[in-house]
C-alpha cells in the first residue's frame, strides 16, 4: 500500500518560518495555533570556544503515528486513518472535548483547538486535495517534500509518539535538482 511521507532536509532549513505562516494563512489560523513548526535545537557550547556553538533547525509536523494515541483517546471516533495511511479528523463528529490535545492524546503537541472548538492538526493538506501541501509549495529553500510510495524513505525517522517505529515524517537529504 502506498503511504504518504513528509520529508525534511535539516541542512536546507534556515528557520524562516514561511512554512508556518503559509499553513496559518491557508487555514485561517490565529497566531498561537501552528499545524507545523520549526524547532530550534540550540545545544549551546559543544567545545571550548565560541566557534563551538551549535544550533540546528528541526522542522516538525504531526508525524501521523502508526499507533496514534489521539486515535485511541477520541471518545466519539472522530479521528480515523484515511488514504495514504494518514491520521484524519472529522470535524462533524468532533465534540471539542480536547482529549486529543493533551499530552496523552499527542505527546508531540501537534494538536490544537480552532476558534470553532474543533480539534485540528496537520493532515498533509489531504482535505484540500492538494498534491503538495502549502508548506512544501512555499519553502524558499525547498527543504520539504511530500512523497507517496510503498517503501519507507531513506533517512532518520522522527520518533513515533510511543518511541516505536511507524511515523511518516523523515529527516533526509534532499539533493540538488538536476537542471
Amino acid at each position: 500500500m502506498s503511504t504518504k511521507y513528509m520529508l525534511f532536509d535539516k541542512q536546507r532549513c534556515f528557520g524562516c518560518n514561511a512554512c508556518v505562516v503559509a499553513c496559518q494563512q491557508e487555514y485561517g489560523l490565529p497566531a498561537q495555533i501552528r499545524f507545523n513548526r520549526v524547532e530550534l535545537d540550540f545545544k549551546g557550547l559543544t567545545g571550548p570556544t565560541r566557534a563551538d556553538l551549535d544550533l540546528e533547525f528541526k522542522p516538525m509536523v504531526c508525524v501521523q503515528c502508526t499507533t496514534a494515541p489521539c486515535l485511541n483517546v477520541c471518545p466519539v471516533g472522530a479521528i480515523s486513518r484515511g488514504a495514504g495511511d494518514l491520521v484524519l479528523t472529522d470535524r462533524r463528529k468532533c465534540i471539542g472535548c480536547r482529549l486529543c490535545t493533551t499530552s496523552t492524546g499527542c505527546p508531540h503537541g501537534m494538536r490544537s483547538m480552532d476558534s470553532y472548538g474543533k480539534a485540528v492538526k496537520c493532515d498533509f493538506c489531504e482535505d484540500r486535495g492538494e498534491t503538495e501541501p502549502y508548506c512544501v509549495k512555499t519553502c524558499p529553500a525547498k527543504a520539504r517534500q511530500l512523497v507517496t510510495q510503498v517503501a519507507a524513505p531513506t533517512g532518520t525517522m522522527l520518533p513515533n509518539t510511543n518511541g516505536a517505529a511507524g511515523a511518516k515524517v523523515y529527516y533526509v537529504n534532499i539533493p540538488i535538482p538536476t537542471p
Binding site: Q11, R12, F14, G15, C16, N17, A18, V20, V21, A22, Q25, E26, T49, R50, A51, L53, D54, L55, E56, F57, Y134, K137, T138, C139, P140, A141, K142, A143, N173, P175, I176, P179
Partner: protein
Amino acid sequence: MCPNSCNVTAIVETVAGVKMVRRIGPGAPDTPQSQGGVCLKAQAGVQLLYDPDRLKTPVRKRTDGSWETLEWPVALTAAAAGLNKIRTDYGAIDNSNGGSSLVQFLFRRMGGGGAFYTQFMNEYGSLNQVGAPPICDGAKVVGFWLGLGFGRLMRDQANSTYTLLVGRSEFEAPRFRLAACREIVEMQKADGKLAVIDPRYTYSASKANLWLGIRPGTDLQLLLTLCRIILDHSLTEDARVPGAAIVWETDPWADRLFIETHAANLGLLRDELYKDATTYTAANAATVCAVPAADITALATEFAGRDTTGGERRTGHRPVADTTSGLARWSHAEDTCWALLSLNALMGSIGTIGGLTRIFEAALGSWTFGTPALPPAGPLRLHQQAGWRHTQPDSFRHSKRPARCPP
C-alpha cells in the same frame, strides 16, 4: 512592502460578492528573485491589506491636529496646488546644464516601481532626489564607487563556491534576493563553503562552515588583515609576488581586476597594508578582533582556495565576499566596504561568474506622465533579457567589463 520584489501569486476568492485575496502564495519557479519560494513576511501581506487601520482614503490634518477625510479628486487637486506653490516660491527650475529646482525630494524607493517617482520628480523639475539607500547601505554603495566607479553590485550566489558574508544576516533577512538562501544551502551541498563574520551567533552563523565572532566594529582590521595574508603568501587569483613591491598603478593587473576608474586605489591599499610590519598580521588582528589567529589565517587561505605553501588554486574555486547594513551602518563604513571590495578584487571576483556582478535596472526611456501609454514590452521579461534562464548555471549576465554592461 519589500524591495526584493519576489514573484508571488495572489489567491483570490469571492466573499459575499466581493473579490478578496485569500492568501499570498509562491510565484513562478523560473524567476531569479524567489525561484518559487515566498517568505513569511510576504504572506503576512494579506494582514496588511485587510487591516482595519489601513488608510483607504486620503486624509488631511486640520489646524487643531485632527484629521479630515477627503475625496481623491479633492486631495489630488490640493496636493498639486501645494506642489506648484512650492515650485513657484522656492524652485528656480532649470534642468538644463545640470541645473535643478531647489526643491529636494526624500522618498522611499528609487528602483523598481520607484522609477515612476523618479520620472515624476524629473518632470516636476527637481533632480534633487534622495531615496532610502543612504539609510540602509549607502556606505556600501559609496565604498564600491571608490573602488569601481559604480556602486550597485550583487553577488552571483548560484555560481559561488565559497561565500563570505560580513555583517550580513542572509538567512534572517534575505535582502535583495530570497533565492540566495536556497543557493547558499545548495552550494554547501555541493561541497561549497559558507563563512560568516558577525559578532553575534546568528542563524546565518549557525549555517556557516566557519564563523568568526569578532569584536563589534573591528571589521576593517580583519578585512585588511585578510588582504595582507593573501598578498604575503601569494594567494591572489594569479599568485602575485608578495609585498610592497607590487606596482598596480602602472602594470595591467589593475585592468584585469576590472578596477576601471580608480586603479590607483589598489596602490592605496598596498600602501596601507605595508605601512608597517605588525598592524595587519594575523596575531595583531587576533588581539584587535578577539578571534583566534589560526581562524583568521584559515579563512584567508580557504577564501583564496590555496594553502600557505603556495599550492595551486583549487579548480573551479569561485570565492565572493559580500555585506550589507551590518557593515554599512558603522562610522566610516565606506573604508570597510572598500576593503571588502579590494578583497574581492584580489581574488578576481569582480564581474566574473560566481563573483560580484552588476545589477540590471529597468529604464523607462522616453516615457512621460504626459504620454501615459507605456512603451511596448520587449519579447522577453527583464531578467530574461539579462540572460537568466532557469536551467542556466549562471544566473546573471556577466561581463568582464561590468561598468560597460548595457543598462
